[in-house]
């Protein structure tokens, strides 16, 4: 089943003004449920617009947005429920913290959903543990935390609403390598333990390769490629043509192939590349 779907969707910013810009141009795309899907594309490719249409923050200029096979705009007055079902974590969410304590900040979303105190408490604890926040941090001010921890608080706040689909816009942007791996693996773990759907926007092909099951590449307001990491990365020349940086090992394999060596080009991790080069060396020695 599909978690969400866009059918014939377009979005135009500042329509009927000189600044009019088509951000999404007549696209059809279905997001599979219960996997991590990555959306990648350079600035202005339309990826953030897609994510904001999925949770009803933007209303498409044309076309239909379906969440669990239901048109989210069929009853515009109930759009708030869509926003609970599809949680959106913005870029640099740590700038949106505002409560006095970590606990209160995570509890803000569930509170707005009108849940009981005990339900809220349970959700806050669960979301906190999913991102690695321990109870001794609950009473701290979120503003006393480091950037990486602030971001975890902000993400936990959305997770605590238990959305069926969690969308994160650049969740690892600006973090150091360790912080980045920590956050991304927590998100994958969250998806597994809640059996939900995750859609993640990123600029980093390396991260996508490791953490996503499917990758949607956007370019010029349209889907450019859509498939498993191996399918997408096997076309490194096309990816570079739309301004994306492919992983170094993928480039290496493409380069070796161009020099006449028979190697796979659908490789994107160091371990895969190691196995492939070991094979090349061994077979090269045989013939």
């Amino acid at each position: 089943m599909n978690a969400a779907e866009l059918r014939g969707v377009s979005y135009v910013y500042s329509k009927n003004t000189p600044f009019c810009k088509v951000a999404v141009n007549n696209i059809d795309i279905a997001f599979e449920e219960k996997i991590v899907t990555g959306i990648i594309g350079h600035t202005g490719s339309g990826k953030s617009t897609v994510s904001q249409m999925l949770n009803g923050l933007l209303k498409p200029s044309e076309g239909v947005v379906l969440v669990e096979d239901k048109d989210i705009w069929s009853e515009p007055k109930k759009i708030r429920n869509v926003r609970f079902a599809v949680g959106l974590v913005f870029q640099y969410p740590e700038y949106q913290l505002f409560e006095e304590t970590v606990y209160k900040d995570i509890a803000y979303g569930p509170k707005n959903m009108g849940l009981s105190e005990s339900e809220i408490d349970e959700r806050v604890r669960m979301a906190a543990s999913l991102v690695g926040i321990t109870e001794d941090m609950f009473d701290k001010s979120p503003f006393d935390l480091s950037g990486g921890w602030k971001r975890r608080v902000a993400i936990a706040g959305v997770m605590a609403m238990r959305p069926k689909i969690l969308i994160l816009d650049e969740p690892a942007a600006g973090l150091d390598p360790r912080g980045r791996d920590e956050i991304l693996s927590r998100i994958v773990e969250y998806r597994r333990s809640t059996d939900s759907t995750v859609i993640m926007i990123s600029h980093s092909m390396e991260d996508m390769a490791v953490y996503c099951e499917k990758i949607l590449v956007m370019s010029d307001s349209k889907p450019f490629m859509y498939g498993t990491p191996a399918e997408v990365f096997s076309k490194s020349a096309e990816l570079e043509s739309v301004g994306l940086a492919v992983p170094q090992v993928t480039k290496l394999m493409t380069e070796l192939k161009a020099r006449g060596y028979h190697v796979r080009t659908d490789i994107y991790t160091v371990a895969q590349a190691k196995a492939e080069i070991a094979r090349l060396v061994k077979e090269g020695a045989v013939c």
Binding site: D176, P177, Q248, V281, A285
Partner: protein, 291 residues
């Protein structure tokens, strides 16, 4: 040997508020030559931004000595004029492009710095035009900054610094919030400043592919210089870097992993073409040996 433009001797720094735990910098020693392009790596909290702020004279050392342009930085024994004069020779570009632009027109933003230090207006005009030319943003001189992409905004921020004509520019994770294209444009600008104008560059980054373009890489960990050398020397320490939570270029990691498995191709390649060359040479040598 070139002139030493930055020198730290037993440099220590500790934040004074009640939350401060351990010192951020602990007896850091460092010498940087004039005209060099130095990449500074380290995980969050390693002390690298604190070092940048000390060099930019935003912070003053808790103990130890810091020399800039051969002069010891000592607030108590310097006149205010001396202090500010020194400060003007160092520029800093920050992480978030949106926090650095103040004016509503690109060229006015670039003129903000020179205006503040009292540059005559005729010269301001020339400086602004030059600076926008260097960063490749002349065509946007009359645009409003909010219509620019992140990478373009960051280049305008750099132009604002260039217009002050500093001899040292510190980039404090100035590429962290940009997409690959924007990052590449900013890095090309940094290289140009270093190559064509001899500006000394301190580039703090988490991106290893940027660090390999520098002349020298310094890894800061726990407030000290942990590794220091050419990119090739530093990145060959794959295990050390991984242990302190940093990345290495994928090809470097790949070649080292192959080497450990007895496939001795090369251990210190940094780029894709270098690695492809090494593999090709290895394959040719092997087939010759066979014959």
């Amino acid at each position: 040997m070139a002139e030493i433009i930055i020198k730290a001797e037993d440099l220590c720094f500790q934040y004074e508020d009640e939350r401060a735990e351990a010192p951020v910098l602990e007896h850091l020693n460092l010498e940087i030559e004039k005209g060099s392009f130095v990449a500074v790596l380290g995980h969050n909290g390693s002390g690298k931004s604190t070092l940048a702020k000390l060099v930019n004279m935003i912070l003053t050392p808790t103990s130890g000595k810091l020399f800039l342009f051969g002069k010891e930085i000592d607030e108590e024994n310097m006149t205010e004029e001396e202090y500010f004069a020194l400060r003007q020779r160092i520029g800093m570009v920050f992480q978030n492009p949106d926090n650095q632009l103040v004016a509503t027109i690109v060229e006015e933003d670039v003129a903000f710095g020179p205006e503040n230090i009292g540059v005559p207006s005729k010269e301001i005009r020339a400086r602004v035009d030059d600076a926008l030319e260097i960063v490749g943003m002349s065509a946007f001189a009359k645009h409003s900054p909010h219509q620019l992409s992140g990478g373009q905004k960051q280049r305008v921020a750099i132009a604002g610094i260039i217009a002050l004509r500093p001899e040292i520019i510190i980039f404090d994770e100035s590429t962290a919030m940009l997409d690959p294209r924007g990052r590449n444009d900013v890095l090309a600008t940094i290289e140009k400043l270093n190559r064509d104008f001899g500006t000394t560059i301190l580039h703090i980054t988490h991106y290893m592919e940027e660090a390999i373009r520098a002349d020298r890489v310094i890894v800061i960990d726990e407030g000290r210089v942990h590794l220091d050398g050419t990119p090739r020397e530093v990145f060959s320490s794959v295990d050390t870097l991984k242990k302190i939570g940093l990345d290495v270029p994928q090809v470097t990691e790949l070649m080292l992993a192959l080497d450990r498995d007895g496939i001795k191709i090369a251990k210190d390649t940094l780029t894709v073409s270098e690695s492809a060359d090494a593999i090709e040479a290895y394959m040719k040598k092997q087939s010759l040996e066979k014959k």
